[in-house]
Structure formats: C-alpha cells, structure tokens
C-alpha cells in the first residue's frame, strides 16, 4: 500500500479518534454536567443578559422553532443588505463592487442555510467586511442553528413524557462558545502557521517565473477556512475554494481541513450515545453511516485511479491516471477522499475541479448529497437520518406485528405525515427544479435574458445534464459544492437556487423537531421483549435499506440520464 492511501486512512482514523472524546464532551456540555470550559459561564451569562434572553426557560417545540426562524430571518435581511451595499462599507482594499440584488439574494440565503453555493468569486465578489462579518459570521450561526435544532431532538429522545425540550438559545449559544469557536481558533492558528494568509492588506503583486505580473488576492483567510470546515459550511475565501494553495498550503493543512469537516458530524452521533447513555445505538448509527460513506468512497477511488478512456482514445498514454482537475500535490486518492467527504457532509468545499472528475465520481457525489445523511451537516445530518429512522421503525414495527414505537413513543399517523413530507421534499426540489431548468433550456434557449439559457452549460449532453442536476442537488442538500461548467450567476439560477435553499434548509429542520416534540408528549412505553430494538445490527441494516431504496427509487432515472449514461458511453 502506498503513502497516498496511508495518508487518507490515517486522516480518517484520527477523525474518529478525535470524535469520541469530543462527542463525550459535547454530551456533557448539553446535559449541564461539569466540563473544563465552565469558566465561560460568566461570558455566556453576559451574552444572555445583553440580549435579554432567559436561557433557563423551558420551551416547547413550537417556541423553539419560532426562536430559530425569527433569528434566522433577521440575519437574512442583514446579510442581504450588507452584500448589496458592501462597496460603501469599510474593509474593501480591492474596491470590489456591491452585489446585484439577485446575487445578494442567493448569497445571503446560501450562507444562512449552511449551503454556501457561491455564484460569485471570493476575490472579486465580496469585501473583507462581508467575508468576515457576513459570511464568516453566518458560518458560525448556521452551524450552531443546526446543532441547536438537533439538541431539541436529543432532548426529546431522552425524556419520557414532556412538553418542553430545553431552551433553544442555550443550545445555540453553547454550541458556539463551547466548541465551534474554540475549535475554529485552533484550526485557524494551525492554518496560519502553515502559510494561509492572515492579513488585512489588499492584493499583492508578484512577478511569475514567466515574467508576467500577477495579482494575488489575500485577506484574513485562515479564520474563515477554519470555520468553513468545522461548521460543514464549505464557502471558501477564494473562488477556487481549497483547491487554491493559499487555502490549503500543505498535506498537514489537508489533514486538518479534512478532519475539521468530518469531526463534528461524527462527534455529534457519539454525543447522542453518551447523552442518552445508549452507546450501542450510537455505534449502530455510526456504523450505518460509515458503511454508506465507504459505498460511495470506494467506487470513487476505483473510478479515479483507472485512467480516462476519453484521454486514452486521443492517443495519449495516460498510464492509468486521470490527473485533470486533481489536487496534484496530494494525489488521486486524497482528492477522491475529499470529494466523497465533502459531499457526504454538507461541507461542499473542494480541493479539485468536480467538473473534471470521472462520471462515476460525479454519480457518487450526487448520491452522497441525495442521501444527505451519511454523517451529514452539523446537526442536520442526524436530523435527516432521524427521518429515515422513523420510516424504518414504522415499516419494521409492522413487520414484527406491533404498533411501531421509537425510544418508548408510538409512531402514528401524524408523525408519518411529517416524515413523509420531509422525505418527499428532497427529491421533489431536486427533480422539479432540474426539470424546470431543462424545460427552459429546451424550449426557450434564445429568450431575451441578459444571460441566455443556451449559454448556461459549458458541456453538452449527459455531462451538461449532470451539471444542472448537481447544482440543484447541492442546493437541496445544503452542500454548496458546484460541478463548475454551469454559469449560475444570472437571475434564473440565483433565484431558483435561493428558493430551493430556503425550503430544503428549514423544512427538514422543522419536520424532525416537530416529530420529536409531538412524540415526546406521548405516553412513555417501557421496553418489553416484544419491542423492536433499534440498537441492533438488524435494525441498522433495515435503516440502510430504507435510505438506499428511497434514494435509489427517487433518483434512478435522473442518475441514469446524467452520470451513468456518460459512464456507460465511455466504456
């Protein structure tokens, strides 16, 4: 085995090793046990006092969601106007212009919802002020929103029969002060010391070896790259994201960034085990997620390391490698590993060019985002998985001849209605908006828009279809990665993506929280020998089967017409 593989195995191993103690620590923070970070208590109390919040007041699930939606709407307005008027605001050494309203609409929503689709390029589309105080600020806020919402569900799973499930503000503030902020500071310091720029100076001018003059963008990059990974956000400082060597200077920063984007989603599942004192349950979930991740990673590595028949057909001996679009410094497996992890989590950062990957890789990336719960984003990954658990519990409960129940609470019509809507929404948004873009492209290619639909796609055929499918899948999964090749900074894409983003963020949060809230109010049923245990391998297999079947059934034709048609035609 060569060092390229050892590198990613060590990176993954370190992630798990870090996730276990972190999970234990997070469980302690939220169950109010003593931790070494309790010295922050006065600081948090000051925040609550300044904001006039009573963080000890127990809230029911409706109050929680109201708090969550209110504060998110305020940030949306703030971000939208700050981006439009950024040219009038300070910290703009490169004199970048304000964003157009449709771009600002897209960008504000995109960062608010933890997606970070970027229809602009960081070097020219935003200023240092908006990078730091809008985009990086939302990196923290969106991650904490997801974690706080997830904590409401954890609380619901732990309680026997309650109407209130903790306090949203408490969960929200503590996820920032207790691990997002300290973790981001740590990662930022490592990045800064390895060469990631940390300066407020404007562009630098260098003379390249070809004696050309080049402008190099700079800024306080390290801080943003740290939280972009830790909060599974993915919106980078530069247009080319972490493929820009200044965002990821060497293999150490590669490992740190990889660990950072994976560690919190995994730690949150471990924390569920510690919090509920049901470690087996957590291990089974981690197991299912890991198997799912490997089912995507292995074909990706396989596809990328076996050359490109299209290049070979041109008479170029590619020696079984397809280096186009790869992170050439770290090699193919490292690039493949990044592409899988960034799509299974909702990070969406990139260290290569997704448009250049093999069609099988594109298929795997799409599937990762279509499933969107093999680890998933901060908090929301578990919430998506929770919906699948509810469906799996329901079907398997019936299969063993008992009214389905989960964690001592019956799963009935109302929960199934919400779970069905939540599970339905993802394919609905992806398929219907991809269909809409196809419809516009086919029927109105020459419509009198500033940017005509016929010019959207950089590639024709199956690949072009994949690009459009990828764009909406990435939005619906709140992932934020883009295949490239598609020119998305125009009114059609900015607006439609914004709509997809808003729905696909908040309904999958509202749904699971509502289910957890309703179920927690029900009568508690103690476990009996007839109860279907949810912490067994059998149930894990059942959940995996439900996830695969639902994703496969909903997306089979779309995947067949995009990446798989391309894959088979390259054979």
């Amino acid at each position: 085995m060569n060092t390229e593989y050892i590198g990613i195995i060590v990176t993954y191993g370190l992630t798990i090793l870090l996730a276990i103690p972190l999970g234990k620590y997070i469980a302690k923070v939220f169950s109010g046990e003593k931790t070494w970070t309790d010295f922050l208590n006065p600081f948090e109390r000051l925040i609550f006092k300044l904001s006039g919040i009573n963080a000890t007041k127990e809230m029911n699930w409706k109050e929680q969601l109201k708090a969550m939606l209110t504060i998110n709407s305020l940030w949306l307005l703030y971000a939208f106007f700050a981006l439009i008027f950024q040219d009038k605001l300070p910290l703009n050494p490169d004199h970048n212009p304000g964003q157009t309203p449709d771009l600002a609409f897209n960008t504000a929503i995109s960062f608010l919802v933890n997606c970070n689709v970027q229809d602009y390029s960081g070097e020219a589309g935003v200023t240092y002020f908006t990078q730091l105080f809008v985009l990086m600020f939302l990196h923290f806020m969106s991650a904490a929103t997801g974690i706080a919402a997830m904590m409401i569900i954890y609380k619901g799973l732990k309680q026997r029969s309650v109407t209130t499930l903790g306090n949203f503000w408490n969960f929200f503030v503590k996820s920032i002060t207790r691990f997002l902020l300290p973790g981001a500071i740590l990662v930022a310091i490592i990045l800064a010391f390895n060469g990631t720029p940390t300066s407020f100076a404007g562009k630098d001018t260098v003379i390249t070896m070809q004696r050309d003059t080049a402008q190099i963008s700079r800024g306080p990059v390290a801080a943003m790259v740290a939280i972009k990974h830790l909060g599974t956000n993915g919106g980078g400082w530069f247009g080319t994201n972490s493929a820009n060597p200044l965002e990821c200077p060497n293999y150490l920063t590669y490992m740190v960034e990889m660990i950072a984007q994976l560690v919190i989603p995994i730690a949150l599942i471990f924390s569920l085990g510690f919090y509920l004192k049901k470690m087996r349950f957590a291990y089974i979930i981690i197991g299912v997620m890991t198997i799912g991740m490997l089912m995507l990673l292995i074909p990706t590595i396989q596809a990328e390391t076996h050359g490109n028949t299209a290049i070979a057909a041109m008479g170029i001996n590619s020696a079984n490698t397809a280096m186009e679009g790869k992170e050439v410094r770290f090699g193919i497996p490292a690039t493949a590993y990044w592409s899988t992890q960034t799509t299974v989590t909702s990070t969406g950062s990139a260290c290569g060019a997704h448009d250049s990957y093999m069609p099988m890789t594109t298929g795997m990336e799409l599937m990762a985002m279509m499933v969107n719960c093999f680890y998933g984003g901060c908090g929301v990954g578990f919430m998506n998985y929770y919906i699948f658990i509810i469906i799996a519990v329901f079907i398997s409960g019936l299969m063993v001849g008992r009214t389905p129940e989960f964690m001592g609470h019956k799963v009935e019509a109302r929960e199934m209605k919400i779970a069905s809507i939540a599970a339905l929404l993802h394919p609905f948004l992806i398929l219907s908006f991809t269909a809409l873009s196809c419809f516009v492209l086919v029927n109105f290619p020459d419509i009198k828009w500033v940017f005509q639909p016929k010019n959207w796609l950089g590639n024709p055929g199956y690949h072009g279809f994949s690009e459009m499918l990828y764009q909406y899948t990435s939005c619906a999964a709140n992932n934020g990665s883009a295949m490239g090749g598609l020119t998305a900074n125009n009114i059609f894409w900015n607006v439609t993506q914004g709509i997809v983003l808003l729905f696909s963020r908040f309904i999958p949060i509202i749904g699971p929280v509502a289910i957890a809230g309703i179920m927690a109010q029900k009568k508690f049923i103690p476990e009996s020998p007839g109860t279907l245990r949810t912490d067994t391998g059998t149930f894990g297999v059942m959940t995996l089967a439900v996830i695969i079947i639902i994703a496969a059934l909903a997306f089979f034709p779309a995947l067949a017409m995009g990446p798989f048609a391309e894959y088979f035609s390259m054979k």
Partner: protein, 688 residues
C-alpha cells in the same frame, strides 16, 4: 368438541362470483378514492383509454401501435379489478361467516309478556321476533328458540348454544348471577325463563360486527391510516419522478410515449400493498370471527397485537376446573385401607367437586363402604364457614369429620387428643407443594390427611412460553392464598400472580400497569368484572357473561374459552405483520421494474444505457408490458397470503425482523426479476 365447520377453502365458488360482481361495482371513483394508490391507477387507465381512442379515431401515430396501447390499457384495468377483487373477496368471506351466525336469528315467534298497568302479569302475546324492542320482556319454555339477545330476569334454564359455539353440551343460564345472558338463536332445553331485551334490533354485537366486515362502517385503524399516508407519500414521489421525466427526456431528445409514462408510474407506486391493504384489514376481523370472537372495532384486534400484559383467571384457564384429590396419607399406625374407606364414607354425602373427586380416587384405589353401611341412616354434616369441616355421623355413634387443618386440630385438641407429628409434617409438605391438605378425624382422633391438588392444563406451560417470547407478560388471578398461588404460578409458568384477588384488585393491577405505559388485556364474565373490562385496553367478555360485562369489553368470545386471548393476540400481530411485509415486498419490487423500464425508455436515444437491461428483455415494448403484467398478476397471487395472514413466529422481534426482511425484502427484490423475465419470454412468442 363439535366446532362449527370452519371453511378453509379461500376461493369458494359462490363467494368468488359475488366478489367478481363487486370488483366492478367498486370501480366507482367515489368508492375508490378511499384508496389513493388504486385511484391513481384508475386515472392512468382512463388516460390510456383516451390514448387508444385517439389512435383509433384521430389516427395518431406518435404513441405506438394500437395493439400495444390497448394491451397496456387492459392490463391497467385488470390491476384495478384485481385489487377490487381482493377487497371484495375478503368482504364476501367475512359476510358469509357473519351470515352463518345471523342465520341463527331468523324470524322466530316470541312469547312477549305484555305489561298491564303497573304490574307485569303473565299475559303472553305471540309476536314476531322482529317486533321486539329494547326493554321488552319475553318468555321462553323448554323447546323454544330464544328470539333475541337478552338478560334473564327470572328463572333458570338449560340451553343448547351449539348454534353459536358449536359446543353440543348444554349450559345452564340463570338470573342474577354472572351467567345471565342468553343469545338469540339458541334453544331452551328445559325449564322456563323470563328474558329482558338489552339491545335495539340491529344494534347487537353481531350486527355491529357484520357492519364492520361489510365495510360500510369500517373505520380505518390508526396504523392503517399511518400506512396509507406513507404509501401516499411514495405515490407522490413517483408522480414527481414521472412528471420530471418529460423535460429530462426532452433535454436528451428522447420521445417518451404516454403508455411508457403511465406504465412506469403504475409499476412504481406501491400497487401491491395498496390493492391488498383493505383486504388485509377485513381478513383480520374475519379471522377473529372464525375464532368465534366478535370484535366491536377493527382497532381492538390491532391493539390485541400490542398487548404487554395478559390477566388470566386461574380456574378454567390455567387449571382444569376445581381441585382434585390426588393422595391419601394415613397417620402412622392407621391402616391404609381403613383410612381410605373412612375418607370415602365421609364424602358420600359431599356434593362439592372436591368431595366427588375424593370418592373417585378412593374407588380407584379399590375402597368400598363397609358392608353394613346404609347412607340413609347416617346424619350428614354439611360444611359451614364457622366449622370449616364436614362429615357424617353414623348410626353407631361414630363421627367422621374432614376439614381444614386448624379446624380439625381444634376438634382433636378439645377432646384431649394430640395431633400426630408425622401428619402435621405431611400437612406442611402438601401446602408448600401448592396443594390443599384436608385432615380426616374419626371420633376426634386424627386418621390422616387427604391431598387436594390443582390440575394444570396440559400444554399450558408451552403456551405461556410462547407468549413470553412474544413479549407478553402473563398474570394469574386467583382467590387462593399467596403460597398456593405462587406454587401454581411457578408450575404453570406465568410471570406474576394476584392472590386472594378481589374484583378491585384486578382493576388496580390494570391501572398500575397502564400507568407504566403498558397495554393490558383481560377476560371476564361477571358484572363485577365490568369496570376492569372497561379499563383494560382489550377486554374480552364471555358470551355467557352478564350484559354489563359484554357492554364493558371490546370483544365478546362466543366460545366462553378463557384461553382465547392468546389466539386474539396472535391474530392482532398477524394483521400488522401482513401489512408490514407486503409493504416491504411491494416497494422492493420497484428495483426490478426500474431495470426493466428505464433502459426500455432510452433504448434508441441513449443506447449505452442498455447495459442496465440486465434481464435482456426482448424489446422496449415487451419490457414495459412484462413489467405491468407482473405488477398486475402479483396482486391476485398474493390474495391467499393477504387473507390468511403472514404466520407469526414467537422468535423475538429482531429475529422476526431479520426473517421477514430476508423473505419479503430480499425476496421482493429477486422475485420480480425472475417474474418479469419469464413473462418477457412468454410475450416473445407472440410478438414478432
């Protein structure tokens, strides 16, 4: 036992023809909309019929040949009919079962007692049973058929209930007690009773049950509603998949025919479970009815499947009838034969079941009364609560007494006789073995002790073991003292017991378990059981029980069989399992259908996708036809499973899930691959 003949054949000629008729009646969209999955298939059929019409009259050639489109239309139509047939057949079977019960209550003349003034006088009017109303009182004498359900208000009678229960032995029903209910259609064999009608005509339990089976008043149960929602969710997903396929096809310059769209859609939506869902529910109640249990709602049957705790009366359920003599233990120095003879003599006048069993056992051991013994000259001493003993005084002055240990001991001690230590030892031993010791004394001198034992029903231990594996806790309710109760509980294998039980103890136990979130089932017959029956989640009243008990429970057992609860629990579990497994099967089927239809859609425009045609189906049209044909015929093929139910195995929830997942999940993925391929091979013979 001469049980009423249980019809085992699923497809009886007369029922099938009736079901066929109703399959067409049910095509009415207003009826079909209750089933969203099949409703969409009906819409698909109408769309396809319109396509055929366009081909015939407008000579539209863009949609393929008429034969192909007509074939798709007919197969879709058959799919709806098959689903309707499944439901109609389940209804017909339920109705037939109910009718055989209803037959027992055809028009019979009734001797109605007409009240005159304030008093009921015996003025009897012969009226038709249909003219009787709630509150009316009628008279029944030997040979009369009881015209309607009611409660005996005066008298006692032996009644032949074989029309209802299939049990040929007559039973005794009398006013006042817990066995005061009579059922319409049963026959009075002796004596005379006055009966008051307790339910309006058409509102008796049986009428309610028939209405439930006929579907008119059948309410969907909570589980069924939740499942329908999930299935509607899947249907919506596939609507989206099929609608979006049109612009996708336009992008890749692939023309997709309406027949292909409709076929893909119908194949993907869960038609198998959607078509069989209501049949499964009706069949569940029908199975209950076949077990001679009348349920007041479909929900009660399902709840039975969730039961955590089962309250069972000891007598009749766990043990056979009453205690029986099993052994004679004479005191040291007393002759074995003499002792047994004395026991026999002391019991000759004893009418209690215990007394009779002593005589039986003594005769078995070869004992007979002494030659000069004349029962008529002996004075019988009856058992009283004060003396707690009984016996005889013989003409020669000899007194034989038998009774409880302390009662006889007192008699002996007062006479100055000691209590032999070996017998005292024996008494203790019998008690700790769960038996009842009966001490025998002759002229206030201890002769020995008789051991009485409860006889535990054979096979009951295994049944409780089965229940335990299902996750059901069994609780024995008995009037015995805690020591005896504990012994029997252990021997029978129940998990818990309530000793020296009073009616309110049952109630308290149920409330305690329910407070912990458990579901409790119980069976009862007496009026004092009524509150507990009402409190229990599943209360099964015996048909012989009082009206109050029957009103309070949510099921009535016509057989009066206390072990019936076990059967009911399994019926409930079977019902849910059949739904779950067929849902899994139905959804797993979609994988193969995708592999059949998707390559067929793009056979010309994306030839590389023919790699996905792993079944090597002959042509695009034959692939689509094979998939819809498979989709249609799987429904009638699964009707037997839907009606009989998936067999429940008490092997633990996880093992059961593993098993069903393997059989219906994996099987559901593999079977359609084989089925579609076979149909395609068959079609290839006709399509050249």
């Amino acid at each position: 036992m001469a049980k009423r003949q249980r019809k085992n054949s699923l497809f009886q000629g007369d029922l099938v023809s009736e079901a066929l008729k109703y399959s067409f009646v049910k095509l009415n969209p207003r009826l079909l909309i209750r089933n969203p999955v099949m409703f969409t298939v009906e819409i698909g059929t109408i769309v396809m019929a319109a396509v055929c019409w366009a081909i015939i009259f407008k000579h539209d050639t863009s949609q393929g040949s008429l034969a192909y489109n007509l074939a798709v239309t007919l197969i879709l139509f058959a799919t709806v009919l098959f689903a309707n047939f499944a439901e109609a057949l389940a209804e017909a079977r339920g109705k037939a079962q109910a009718n055989s019960l209803r037959k027992t209550r055809e028009e019979t003349p009734a001797k109605k007692i007409v009240p005159v003034g304030e008093m009921y006088v015996d003025e009897v009017q012969i009226v038709n049973s249909s003219e009787l109303k709630k509150g009316d009182v009628f008279l029944c004498e030997a040979g009369d058929t009881i015209p309607m359900d009611g409660e005996i208000i005066e008298g006692l009678a032996t009644i032949d209930e074989s029309a209802i229960t299939g049990e040929s032995a007559p039973v005794i029903r009398e006013s006042g007690g817990d066995k005061s209910s009579v059922t319409g259609g049963t026959k009075v064999l002796s004596d005379k009773i006055k009966v008051k009608i307790t339910a309006e005509p058409g509102e008796s339990f049986l009428d309610k049950m028939i209405a439930l089976v006929e579907g008119a008043s059948r309410q969907k149960t909570p589980n069924e509603i939740a499942l329908t929602i999930l299935l509607a969710g899947f249907t919506l997903v596939f609507i989206i998949v099929c609608v979006t396929l049109k612009p996708f096809g336009d992008y890749s310059l692939t023309p997709i025919t309406i027949a292909a769209f409709v076929s893909l859609f119908v194949c993907l939506i869960p038609t198998t479970i959607g078509g069989l869902l209501s049949a499964i529910g009706i069949a569940g109640m029908d199975r209950a009815l076949r077990a001679n249990v009348i349920t007041k709602s479909g929900k009660a049957v399902e709840t039975a499947g969730d039961i955590d705790v089962l309250l069972l009366d000891k007598t009749g359920t766990i043990t056979i009838g009453n205690r029986k003599a099993t052994n004679f233990y004479p005191t040291k120095g007393v002759d074995d034969f003499i002792f047994i003879q004395n026991c026999l003599v002391s019991s000759l006048a004893d009418e209690t079941p215990e007394g009779k069993s002593i005589i039986e056992l003594a005769r078995e051991k070869g004992a007979a009364p002494p030659d000069n013994f004349d029962l008529h000259k002996a004075t019988l001493i009856k058992f009283t609560a004060e003396t707690r003993s009984s016996g005889v005084n013989l003409p020669g002055g000899k007194q034989i007494r038998k009774g409880a240990f302390d009662a006889i001991k007192k008699i002996a001690m007062e006479a100055g006789n000691s209590f032999p230590s070996d017998t005292e030892e024996k008494v203790k031993q019998i008690s700790s073995n769960g038996g009842t010791p009966l001490v025998v004394a002759e002229d206030k001198k201890i002769l020995g002790v008789i051991e009485l034992q409860d006889i535990i029903k054979p096979g009951i231990h295994e049944r409780f073991e089965r229940l335990r594996k299902m996750g059901v806790k069994t609780v024995m309710v008995t009037g015995d003292n805690p020591l005896t109760a504990k012994f029997i509980a252990e021997k029978a294998g129940v998990d818990d017991f309530i000793a020296e039980a009073k009616p309110e103890d049952k109630m308290n136990y149920i409330k305690k378990e329910q407070a912990e979130g458990k579901l409790v089932a119980m069976m009862g017959d007496g009026t004092n059981d009524a509150p507990a029956l009402a409190q229990a989640d599943v209360g099964v009243a015996m048909n012989s029980g009082t009206q109050a008990a029957k009103e309070a429970g949510n099921m009535v057992d016509l057989d009066n069989d206390p072990t019936k609860l076990i059967e009911i629990v399994e019926i409930g579990k079977q019902l849910l399992m059949t739904r779950g497994t067929l849902t899994t099967f139905s959804i797993a089927n979609d994988v193969a259908k995708y592999f059949a239809i998707v390559p067929a859609l793009f056979i010309l425009t994306i030839p590389s996708l023919s790699v996905l045609n792993i079944m090597h189906l002959k042509s695009g049209e034959s692939a689509i036809l094979s998939a819809v044909i498979f989709n249609a015929i799987i429904i009638p093929l699964l009707i037997p499973l839907a009606l009989k139910g998936v067999k429940y195995r008490p092997i633990g929830a996880s093992a059961l899930l593993r098993r069903n997942l393997l059989v219906y999940g994996l099987g559901g993925i593999i079977i359609p691959f084989i089925g579609i391929k076979l149909i395609d091979m068959l079609l290839a013979l006709f399509m050249k």
